[in-house]
């Protein structure tokens, strides 16, 4: 091994690091200049790549419909679709390694609604203010743009939003002469009745596995009980409160009473939904797409599924809270054709694209005028209900959100499985959220 001097290796390592940094800086500088020179909506030309995961129904690819419509409206621009991983954590890792590595192999990418702060802090997304006129942002539903803003800069164009709903079996409720529940307590007792009458095996299913989805479910239950996880300023943990204990006690009670199967603590969206579509559970908390899925050809309960707002706790004014989910378009800071990328992003936040996403994709459009369009409202029974939803965001505006969320879902999951008490889970979560907010600790 005397062929390469060992002494040279650290030098080579250092040289590579420096080279990466220098190249990166220069490319970033040039893109800003190019963007400023180009007025938005101008006659941009070129070929861009859209790195996107699949959304909407599985039978047709709505992304391809969107690209075809865009290319027709913008003859100078060609959009290539690059398939992204469907799992959002895997997708994020792939984005991080590619963008931090200086890749310009894609120009625009899909990204989760909880990423703006993390990506903004790490410089993985190009802030959009200098490429879009300020008036552009007023078209979106209230609150959406501010949730995509990090340190005063808009980081992404929202392309569809997602809400949580309560899905229920109309046939079972009719048989037992029960109303659609409006409180969690009512849901629990109705579910128990249905189970006792042997109409259904389980009462309720949700996503209680140790992952991001549990942070969503937790945020809803907590908000219904009047609790939160982080204060509005994003500086301290507020999760260790009597209201939070009440929410967690109730969630655990769903499992101990047998209303929710104990395996709910290992359920993500897919497992909970398949339990519902196979006819084994009466109530399901899930996202918009579950309506189409559970009434589709693969479902044993097609035609029997109702959709409504989530319940709240007795004594609170209804309906219950739904967290906001959804996906956005981000701009790769290394894009070689920012004008064309911006033209595409602009168009995706327009009426035509949003109507396609709503009517063919089955997703809730982000543009307020499209969402309130009567024909769009008629296209999906979830849309009028979504309009009545009380929305609540996860605390994703803090840059350390992924750690905050980990602190929430690992501890809540531990309490739900019964391996720790709700009280000690919440105080552990509180401590970990505190260190995540001050960026100390793992």
């Amino acid at each position: 091994m005397r062929f390469i001097s060992p002494r040279l290796i650290p030098v080579a390592a250092l040289a590579t690091c420096l080279a990466t940094a220098t190249v990166g800086c220069s490319s970033s500088g040039s893109t800003t200049a190019a963007g400023a020179a180009q007025s938005p909506g101008g006659q941009a030309k070129g070929t861009i790549t859209w790195y996107a995961n699949q959304f909407g129904p599985t039978t047709t690819d709505v992304r391809k419909t969107l690209i075809a419509a865009f290319e027709k409206a913008n003859p100078g621009i060609t959009v290539n679709l690059e398939q992204a991983p469907s799992d959002s954590d895997t997708f994020r890792s792939s984005l991080e390694t590619q963008i931090a590595g200086g890749s310009s192999s894609f120009d625009v990418y899909n990204g989760d609604v909880v990423w703006p702060a993390q990506f903004g802090k790490a410089g993985l997304a190009q802030p959009l203010d200098s490429y879009f006129p300020a008036s552009y942002w007023s078209r979106f539903s209230p609150g959406l743009v501010s949730s995509l803003t990090y340190q005063g800069k808009v980081m992404a164009v929202p392309i569809f939003t997602d809400n949580a709903f309560l899905f229920y079996r109309k046939d079972l409720l009719a048989k037992a002469h029960l109303p659609v529940p409006t409180t969690w307590q009512q849901l629990q007792s109705e579910a128990a009745t249905l189970q006792k009458d042997h109409l259904v095996k389980y009462g309720f299913a949700a996503q209680f596995d140790a992952y991001e989805g549990l942070t969503c479910d937790w945020t809803e239950f907590a908000a219904d009980a009047g609790a939160s996880s982080v204060n509005p300023a994003g500086t301290t943990a507020t999760i260790d409160s009597p209201q939070a204990v009440q929410a967690l006690d109730f969630m655990r009670g769903l499992i101990t009473s047998g209303v929710a199967p104990s395996a709910t603590t290992t359920f993500q969206e897919q497992q909970s939904e398949s339990l519902f579509t196979s006819g084994q559970v009466a109530f399901l908390r899930n996202w918009t797409y579950a309506y189409a899925d559970s009434n589709g050809s693969g479902s044993k309960v097609a035609g029997e599924v109702g959709i409504t707002n989530l319940p709240t706790f007795a004594g609170q004014s209804g309906p219950g809270y739904s967290v906001t989910g959804g996906w956005n378009l981000y701009l790769n800071p290394h894009s070689k054709d920012i004008p064309a990328a911006v033209a595409f992003m602009t168009w995706m936040g327009g009426t035509q694209a949003q109507t396609i996403i709503a009517e063919q994709g089955g997703e809730i459009p982000t543009v307020a005028s499209v969402l309130h369009d009567p024909t769009v409202q008629a296209a999906n029974p979830a849309f009028p209900i979504a309009a009545k939803n009380k929305l609540n965001a996860r605390p994703s505006f803090v840059a350390g959100y992924s750690k905050v969320s980990e602190a929430i879902y690992t501890n809540i999951n531990a309490a739900l499985t019964g391996s720790v008490s709700p009280q000690s889970a919440l105080s552990a979560a509180s401590q970990q959220i505190g260190s995540a907010l001050s960026n100390t600790g793992l």
Binding site: T20, S28, A122, G123, S262, A414, T417, G418, L442
Partner: protein
């Protein structure tokens, strides 16, 4: 003199031929290892333009030392490795002994046994996930058919760890068996014969003669298994997500989350580097003990 020159020339030519491979090894193995160690000792800033390293600091390691989650991952990974590797070694050796005796169908048996080993872990983990599922899982159906309560195997910390261990043992025992079988086949018959002539029973022959002679083969198999078990990632990633809570979070899964979910490259690199250090120490200690015993036998 002439022979020496020739040899040297051959050696030089050898280096020339080997150099492309060495360069590749340097680029894909040595450089990343050094880079991640350097990263674990630096202040890391992540930007869209790459990763910036500055200064030398022990802060990343101090974060680990003070994090209960890290120590839990260390404990879990070490305990998991110790348990699964022990069971695999014992089972694998027993299977190898049976296979060695087998006259007919040994090829078939070996092929069959290798099936789990050839499956990609993510795929086999999904299959085990189906078996363990608390609602429509096979295990659940079996216990319910016998009138028992539904089993939520992955729902409690202890049963989830055991379930993962079973999936691991199922997959990797064949590997140990094949390695040990290779060792068994190579054993000289005359020693066993001589022992038998001296009146030793089968039990004595195994414990006193064959097992000591098998040590080198066993050592290699166990080393490979320790290295792999320490890198445990795909099973918890697919089966439990490290849950319930963080009870089945391995060092590799923790490192992945810190690096790629939280973008904490410094502490993430420290998790990776410390894992490598721990496994290195474990392997060296293991080899030392094993060599010493082998030496004793020879002496």
């Amino acid at each position: 003199m002439a022979a020496n020159t020739l040899e040297r020339r051959a050696a030089r030519r050898g280096w020339v031929f080997a150099s492309p491979a060495l360069l590749v090894v340097g680029a894909v193995m040595i450089f990343p290892v050094i880079f991640s160690v350097v990263m674990s000792l630096s202040n890391v800033t992540v930007t869209g333009n790459g990763i910036g390293l500055s200064g030398i600091t022990g802060a990343n390691y101090s974060v680990l030392v003070h994090a209960p989650r890290y120590w839990h991952a260390v404990e879990f990974t070490v305990a998991y490795t110790a348990c699964t590797v022990t069971v695999e070694t014992v089972l694998g050796t027993v299977i190898a002994l049976v296979l060695e005796r087998l006259q007919a169908g040994r090829g078939w048996m070996m092929a069959l046994m290798l099936l789990p080993w050839t499956l990609i872990t993510v795929v086999s983990a999904e299959l085990w996930g189906y078996i363990y599922n608390g609602v429509y899982g096979v295990l659940d159906a079996i216990t319910q058919a016998f009138g028992g309560q539904g089993l939520n195997v992955l729902g409690t910390p202890a049963s989830a760890a055991v379930a993962m261990g079973v999936a691991d043992i199922w997959k990797t025992t064949p590997f140990v068996a094949i390695m040990v079988l290779a060792g068994l086949v190579m054993l000289p018959d005359d020693v066993t014969e001589a022992a038998r002539v001296d009146g030793a029973g089968a039990w004595t022959i195994f414990w006193r003669i064959r097992l000591p002679l098998l040590r080198p083969a066993l050592a290699v198999a166990v080393m490979f298994r320790i290295l792999q078990a320490f890198g445990l990632f795909d099973l918890p990633y697919v089966l439990t997500q490290g849950g319930p809570g963080t009870s089945t979070e391995s060092l590799a899964l923790l490192g992945y989350r810190v690096l790629f979910n939280d973008l904490d490259f410094g502490p993430g690199a420290a998790v990776a580097a410390s894992t490598a250090l721990i496994v290195l120490v474990v392997c060296l200690a293991f080899l030392k003990v094993f060599r010493a015993q082998v030496g004793e036998q020879k002496g």
